[in-house]
C-alpha cells in the first residue's frame, strides 16, 4: 500500500470506523455459518476409496448397486446409513440441494442386499419413511438404512449391496451420497462419515445385423469314397461333373461305383455327390427324382428312347422282365447279388471333410440323416468299403431306386438336433447287375436332385 493510503486512513475517522465494522461483520459470518448451516459438513469425515458398481447401465433398469468405501471414523455404533441420488455431486452433500435424476422409481423399491467389512454384522433394513436427515417419504431418491448394532464400528473398508435399484431413466451421470450415522434415526448431529460416488446411465448401443438365408446345393461326381477320409471340395464351387459311370456290366459281377476295372471314360472311378450348405432353422431335405425317358419304366437305368415291357416293378420282389432294355428296380432297399437284374442307389455315407461350423467326423455325427431306404447297409453308420468297382456279390450296402419320377427323400436334417448344414456331402453310390438276357447297349439313368430348406 502506498504511503498516501495510510495518511488518508489516519486522517479519515469515518473510513476507519467502516473498516472496523466490516471486519467485525466478516468474522461474525465466518464463525456463525456452521451453526446456521448445521455443522454436519464440518463434523463428518470424508469417506475414502469409494465407488459404486451398478449391474446395468441401461436407462430405467432395475439392478443391483454395490457400494465399496472406507470409513475413517471409529468408536461409534454405525446404525444408520443414508443414500441419496442426485444430478450433481454437491447436491448429495449433507445440507445440499438434491435434484433427482429423471422420473424413475430409483430407491423406492430397493431392498437391502448384504454388508461386509462392518465390525458389527447386524444387517440393515430399509426404512421407507426415515427421519431427521433421512426422509424417504415422497423422496424416491433417498434410501434410509438402519439397524441396532451391539458394538462400535471400526474404520475400514466396507461393502454395501442394495438390490432392485431402478436406474435413472435419463442418460448421463448421477451421483450418490453416502452418509453414516451413529443412530438409526439419522440425526444431523450423529453424522460421522460422508462421501459421494458417481455412475452413469448410458445410451444403449444397439447393434443390428441380418443374416441372410443361405442355400448352397450342388450335385456332381467325386473320387472320394469315404465319409471320414478325404474332402470332396471346400464348398460347392469345387464340385464338378454331372455323371458317373458304372462301366461295362457283366452278369457275373455286381458293378458299384466307383468303377475303374472296366471303365475308362472321364466319369469312371467316381461316386456321385450332393453337397449342402444351409442355415435354414427348420432343416433341409434332399430329394431325388428320376427323369423320364422312353416308354414304360421311364425312370430307370435304361437304353435311351427304348420301349420297355409294361410289367410293373414290385417293391418287394423282382419282376421277370429281364429281357427288355430297362433295369429292374426296387423302391425298398436290398442287397445286390448276381442272380437278379437290378439297378439302385444308396447314400453310402456323409462326408464332412469341409464342415467347419461344428464337429462332424462322418455319417454318425452329420446333421443330414439318411433316409431308411438310402442308408448304406441299412443298420449302421459304417461306411462299407467293400462295395467298390466289381464284386462277386452280395453287396454290403442295400440299394434302391424309384423310377416313378416322384421326389424321393434321401436325407434330411429336419429331425436333427442341429438343423443347419455346413457343406455336408452325401456320397452317392450306384450299383447295377445285368442278367445274361439284359439286352446289350448303352444304358443311362437320369436324376434330378433337389434340396428344400425351410427357414
Amino acid at each position: 500500500m502506498s504511503k498516501k493510503f495510510f495518511v488518508f486512513a489516519r486522517d479519515n475517522r469515518l473510513f476507519t470506523r467502516l473498516m472496523l465494522l466490516f471486519t467485525a461483520a466478516a468474522l461474525s459470518v465466518m464463525w456463525l455459518t456452521p451453526v446456521f448451516m448445521g455443522n454436519a459438513k464440518a463434523a463428518t469425515a470424508q469417506i475414502t476409496n469409494r465407488k459404486v458398481t451398478i449391474g446395468s447401465g441401461q436407462s430405467g433398469v432395475s439392478n443391483t448397486y454395490t457400494f465399496n468405501f472406507t470409513t475413517v471414523t471409529s468408536g461409534f455404533h454405525l446404525d444408520g446409513i443414508k443414500l441419496i441420488v442426485c444430478t450433481t455431486a454437491i447436491g448429495t452433500y449433507p445440507g445440499g440441494t438434491c435434484t433427482k435424476p429423471g422420473t424413475s422409481s430409483l430407491f423406492s423399491t430397493a431392498a437391502f442386499g448384504s454388508i461386509s467389512g462392518f465390525t458389527d454384522t447386524t444387517v440393515f433394513t430399509v426404512d421407507t419413511a426415515g427421519a431427521n436427515d433421512c426422509v424417504a417419504t415422497a423422496h424416491v431418491e433417498v434410501l434410509c438404512l438402519k439397524r441396532t448394532s451391539a458394538s462400535n464400528d471400526t474404520a475400514g473398508a466396507k461393502t454395501l449391496v442394495i438390490n432392485t435399484v431402478t436406474n435413472p431413466n435419463v442418460t448421463g451421470a448421477f451421483y450418490i451420497g453416502i452418509t453414516t450415522y451413529n443412530a438409526n434415526n439419522w440425526p444431523s448431529a450423529g453424522a460421522k462419515d460422508a462421501g459421494t460416488v458417481a455412475s452413469a446411465v448410458v445410451t444403449t448401443l444397439q447393434v443390428n445385423a441380418l443374416v441372410a438365408e443361405v442355400l448352397n446345393f450342388c450335385v456332381g461326381s467325386t473320387t472320394v469314397d469315404s465319409d471320414s477320409t478325404g474332402t470332396v471340395a471346400s464348398d460347392c464351387t469345387g464340385v464338378s461333373g454331372s455323371s458317373v459311370n458304372l462301366g461295362v456290366l457283366d452278369s457275373g459281377k455286381v458293378n458299384i461305383t466307383p468303377v475303374s476295372t472296366t471303365c475308362t471314360a472321364a466319369d469312371c472311378g467316381k461316386n456321385g455327390v450332393a453337397m449342402v450348405r444351409s442355415n435354414a432353422i427348420n432343416g433341409t431335405v434332399v430329394y431325388y427324382d428320376a427323369i423320364a425317358n422312353g416308354t414304360n419304366h421311364t425312370g430307370t437305368l435304361r437304353v435311351s428312347g427304348s420301349t420297355c415291357n409294361a410289367t410293373a416293378n414290385n417293391s418287394s420282389s423282382d419282376t421277370t422282365d429281364n429281357t427288355d432294355q430297362c433295369f429292374n428296380v426296387r423302391t425298398t432297399a436290398g442287397f445286390f447279388d448276381t442272380t437278379t437284374e437290378r439297378f439302385g442307389m444308396t447314400v453310402a455315407g456323409v462326408n464332412c471333410g469341409s464342415t467347419t461350423s461344428y464337429t462332424c467326423t462322418g455319417t454318425g455325427t452329420a446333421n443330414l440323416v439318411r433316409a431308411s431306404n438310402y442308408n448304406g447297409d441299412g443298420s449302421t453308420n459304417t461306411y462299407q468299403t467293400t462295395d467298390i468297382d466289381e464284386i462277386n456279390g452280395p453287396s454290403a450296402n442295400k440299394y434302391a431306386w424309384d423310377e416313378s419320377g416322384t421326389a424321393t427323400q434321401i436325407a434330411s436334417s429336419a429331425s436333427s438336433t442341429v438343423k443347419q448344414v455346413d457343406d455336408e456331402a452325401l456320397i452317392l453310390k450306384f450299383a447295377a447287375h445285368p442278367l445274361i438276357t439284359t439286352p446289350f447297349g448303352s444304358y443311362q439313368a437320369q436324376a434330378d436332385f433337389i434340396a428344400v430348406s425351410t427357414y
Binding site: C236, L249, G272, A280, I450
Partner: protein, 344 residues
C-alpha cells in the same frame, strides 16, 4: 449457388429423416420354403411355396421376387438368367386364399398376387405355380424374396418378409454299358450253361435195314440280343463217296428198311433217342424239328430260335439213319455245322 446447394442438402436430409422405415418393422415370415418339382436348369416345372405370415395385418398382396444370389430386400434384385415366370399360372392355394396373379404388376421374375385386403390368418400358406421356366445357370442359388403388403399391387411397406432359396442343377446321369453277348456250345454233351463240352463226333455203328440207327448230340445257346437268336444247321446228308443216304425233306416217322437221314430236337420214343429242350431261356425248336418221332434234315434249316434275349437253352439233337437192304457198303459220314445268328 452455395445457398442453393445448402437448401438442396437440407431438403435431402429432411427427406431421408422423414422416410418411413419400410423394412425395419417388417416381421420375418416363418416356416418358409420352396419346393420345385424339377430342379433341372431351364425345365418348365412347378414351384410350390409354403410359409406362415406372423402379422395379423390386412394383406392385399403378396410379392415373390426371384433374385440371383441375394435374399436381402435392401439390395438390388438381379433377375436370374433364363428364368421366366410370364407363362406361369397359380394352380392352387391354401391358407390365406383369394389371390390371383396381378398380371399388370408381375414381371418375368416377380409374382404379384392380389386380393381384396383381409387380415392374415396365422396358418401355413401354400401357393403352387405351374409352368415356370427354371433359371439356366446350374448350381446358382436363386433366392425368392417373399413379402406381404397392405396394398393390392405389391407396393408400399412390407408387412412380413422373408427369403427362400433353391439351386437348379444339371441333370445327373448314371451311365453303364451292357456288352453284346452270344454263346453257343456244341458237343456230344454240353452243360446247360455251356460250362462244359464233351465230344465232337458220333458213331452210329453198323447201319441196319431192320432197325433204326440213332445217335445224339447237344448244343446250348444264350444271347442278350434284343431280337433273340436263330440256330442253323448246315452240311450234307450222310454220304460215302458217291453213295448217299437220302435226307428227309419233311418231318417223317422212322421207317427202317428205307433210306432216311433226319434229325429233331425232342425226346423220341420211336426210336428211343433224344431229350426235350432244357434251360431257363426262351429258345424253342423250330416247328419241323420240334415234333417227337418225326425227323428231317435240310441243309441250312433253322433248328431253334428265340425271339427275344434268352438265357441258356440246351437242345439235344437226335439223329436217325435208316437204310434199305440194298444200301451200298461203305463208311458214311457227314459234318454238320451249327451256327447261331443274332442281329445286334
Amino acid at each position: 449457388m452455395l445457398k442453393w446447394l445448402s437448401l438442396c442438402l437440407a431438403v435431402l436430409v429432411c427427406l431421408i429423416l422423414m422416410r418411413p422405415p419400410q423394412n425395419a418393422a417388417a416381421a420375418i415370415i416363418e416356416q418358409r420354403s420352396i419346393t420345385v418339382t424339377s430342379n433341372v436348369i431351364s425345365a418348365v416345372t412347378t414351384h410350390k411355396f409354403q410359409f406362415l405370415l406372423p402379422s395379423p395385418d390386412n394383406v392385399g398382396s403378396l410379392t415373390l421376387e426371384y433374385c440371383d444370389g441375394n435374399p436381402l430386400f435392401d439390395f438390388p434384385c438381379v433377375p436370374p438368367a433364363g428364368l421366366d415366370l410370364s407363362p406361369a399360372v397359380l394352380s392352387s392355394q391354401a391358407g390365406n386364399t383369394g389371390f390371383t396373379i396381378d398380371s399388370a404388376d408381375s414381371t418375368s421374375n416377380q409374382f404379384v398376387l392380389t386380393r381384396t385386403a383381409a387380415p392374415a390368418i396365422p396358418v401355413l400358406n401354400t401357393y403352387v405355380f405351374d409352368n415356370i421356366k427354371n433359371p439356366s445357370t446350374p448350381g446358382n442359388t436363386v433366392y425368392i424374396r417373399i413379402a406381404s403388403h397392405a396394398s393390392a399391387d405389391g407396393s408400399g411397406a412390407n408387412i412380413d418378409k422373408g427369403g427362400v432359396a433353391f439351386a437348379p442343377q444339371s441333370e445327373f446321369d448314371v451311365n453303364a454299358f451292357v456288352p453284346p453277348f452270344l454263346q453257343l456250345c456244341v458237343g456230344v454233351s454240353v452243360a446247360p450253361d455251356c460250362s462244359s463240352i464233351v465230344g465232337d463226333s458220333i458213331d452210329l455203328g453198323i447201319l441196319s435195314s431192320t432197325t433204326a440207327n440213332k445217335g445224339q448230340s447237344q448244343y446250348a445257346v444264350a444271347t442278350n440280343d434284343l431280337t433273340g437268336y436263330n440256330v442253323f444247321a448246315t452240311g450234307t446228308t450222310m454220304t460215302s463217296g458217291n453213295n448217299i443216304i437220302p435226307a428227309l425233306a419233311l418231318p417223317t416217322a422212322s421207317l427202317p428198311g428205307t433210306g432216311q437221314f433226319g434229325i429233331n430236337l425232342r425226346a423220341n420214343l420211336i426210336p428211343v433217342v433224344g431229350q426235350d429242350p432244357v434251360g431257363l431261356g426262351t429258345g424253342v425248336p423250330s416247328a419241323n424239328y420240334g415234333i417227337p418221332n418225326r425227323f428231317l434234315y435240310n441243309d441250312g434249316d433253322n433248328l431253334s430260335s428265340s425271339p427275344l434275349p434268352s438265357n441258356y437253352n440246351r437242345m439235344t439233337v437226335s439223329y436217325l439213319v435208316n437204310v434199305p437192304k440194298g444200301q451200298s457198303p461203305g463208311i458214311y459220314s457227314t459234318t454238320i455245322t451249327y451256327i447261331a445268328v443274332v442281329q445286334f
